[in-house]
Amino acid sequence: MTAHPPHGPRFPYGGRGHRDPVPGAPALVVHDLMVRYPGGITAVRSFSVRLERGQCGVLVGPNGCGKSSVLKAIAGIARPAAGEVRVFGNAVGACHHRTAYLPQVPEVAWAFPISVREMVMQGRDVHMGWLGRPRHADERAVDDALRRTGLEALATRSVDALSGGQRQRALLARALAQESELLLLDEPLTALDEDHRQAITRVINEALAQDAAVLMTTHHVDEARSAGHVIIPMRDGAIADGNALVAR
């Protein structure tokens, strides 16, 4: 991943600046996580996982088993009811630019009139902060993300004119443009044909080779397993069975 500037945005979102990783800390440590939604529904209970740099964990399981809630808690979108999440040794939100989150396609307002390039540029927002404006480095990161996801030719197209697979790639391009070191990808392979699934898997592997860590959800278990990723089976909000590689 690209080295980050020593100073972050002048007015960072959430009031948090660029904080360095704790030396020797794993990319992600989740310990006894519990996520509860309004109405008392417990989506995640007693979930623990540990990911090192260069490692990809894949959450698999039936719909509603809590996979997306785990990602949302790590991304700082859902507040944990209990447990602890550490990203590069820091608390969630201590350094927003190090974590990039890819939501599921239906969670995005695609009817909003912006181009693919403008959407991918949103991945740079965390580096600009309040009152910031895109600079050459931001433009370069967006160009690079568009190229890696094969969206260069669609850069000026409105996002509402994209197919399901193209939307998936646009969201991945936005996450890549953020140049984060921990990618949280919710169903990144959904709605893609085989060629594009392979292309996206290649992009994920490139990120891993650059020392990033990835935690993703998918229904394509066989492809994830053949790519050498660590499978984390989930059921009823918890890990279905112990996994010596990642769950501690």
Binding site: G15, P38, E118, D125
Partner: protein, 281 residues
């Protein structure tokens, strides 16, 4: 030409026209964000809920616009309080706040025995704008445009993907609250032109039309402002010559502008269909 210049020979017409232009610009700019976020109902409701604030200000002898502003802020806070926790949907909360505040306003209005004093609030009085009001409208328009420009990225990302925005530290609920607080003075300005009952004509209608003919949000805002501006200028001039209500004429002209946008969109769609058919053949 005389049709255009004759009304402008009067000072109150010049002031009124300038006020209408300022109001239409700020309303259309905020309206584009309101429509993009599917908050049109809120925009309309907010205009109605200002009534009790206006009546209280009248009874206290305070600024009516100031009262409207306070009522709008109170409404926004009531809606935020009702929807907090996610148990009540926002449209339901708006319906509750809208009904409660407007009913309170009508009830208070019935105790004043001077309904005539409020007709300009209900239906607008753009030709009654004084120099002081013009300065206030200018400040509101300036603040609205500057704020939308400065926080363009934050407004866009929280509208497109609030979950993603939250993941990097932005608070979409606070950005939305900020937009609502910006909406309050904008509607107050709109009331000056077309009144409580027709503010939607400048806030929602031009933006809704602009969305039909544009593909980039910046262009949408620009077209919305042009439609609103055209409606204001045409409305002021037509109402002068026809001797009809200025606020209602402005609102009606905005609807004509929306119709024109629909026509352009339909024409464009038909042309695209013909072109694609030719390519296939």
């Amino acid at each position: 030409m005389n049709w255009l210049t004759e009304p402008l020979s009067y000072g109150f017409m010049r002031t009124g026209l300038l006020a209408a232009v300022l109001v239409s610009i700020s309303c259309a700019a905020v309206g584009a964000h309101v429509v993009a976020r599917r908050m049109s109902f809120l925009g309309d409701a907010l205009a109605h809920t200002m009534l009790p604030g206006i009546v209280i200000a009248f009874l206290l002898g305070a600024s009516l616009l100031g009262g409207a502003l306070v009522a709008a802020v109170v409404t926004v806070l009531i809606i935020a309080a009702i929807t907090r926790g996610g148990r009540v949907q926002e449209d339901a909360a708006i319906g509750v706040a809208f009904t409660g505040m407007f009913a309170l306003g009508v009830m208070m209005l019935s105790t004043t025995n001077s309904f005539r004093d409020f007709t300009h609030i209900l239906f607008g009085d753009i030709l009654g704008v004084g120099d002081g009001d013009l300065v206030v409208l200018g400040i509101i328009t300036g603040v609205v445009l500057l704020t939308l420009l400065m926080f363009r990225r934050e407004l866009e990302v929280t509208a497109v993907d609030p979950g993603y925005a939250r993941s990097f530290g932005l608070r979409p609920d606070r950005v939305r609250l900020g937009l609502l607080l910006l909406l309050a003075p904008t509607i107050v300005a709109g009331i000056q032109a077309v009144g409580v009952l027709l503010t939607t004509g400048l806030l929602i209608v031009p933006a809704a039309g602009a969305f039909l003919v544009t593909r980039r949000f910046r262009t949408t805002m620009l077209v919305a402002m042009l439609v609103g501006l055209g409606a204001s200028v045409a409305g002021v001039l037509i109402s002068y010559h026809a001797g009809v209500s200025t606020g209602a004429t402005i609102a009606l002209c905005a609807c004509v502008g929306f119709g024109a946008c629909m026509g352009i969109a339909a024409l464009r769609s038909a042309l695209a269909t013909i072109t694609s058919r030719e390519v296939l053949e």
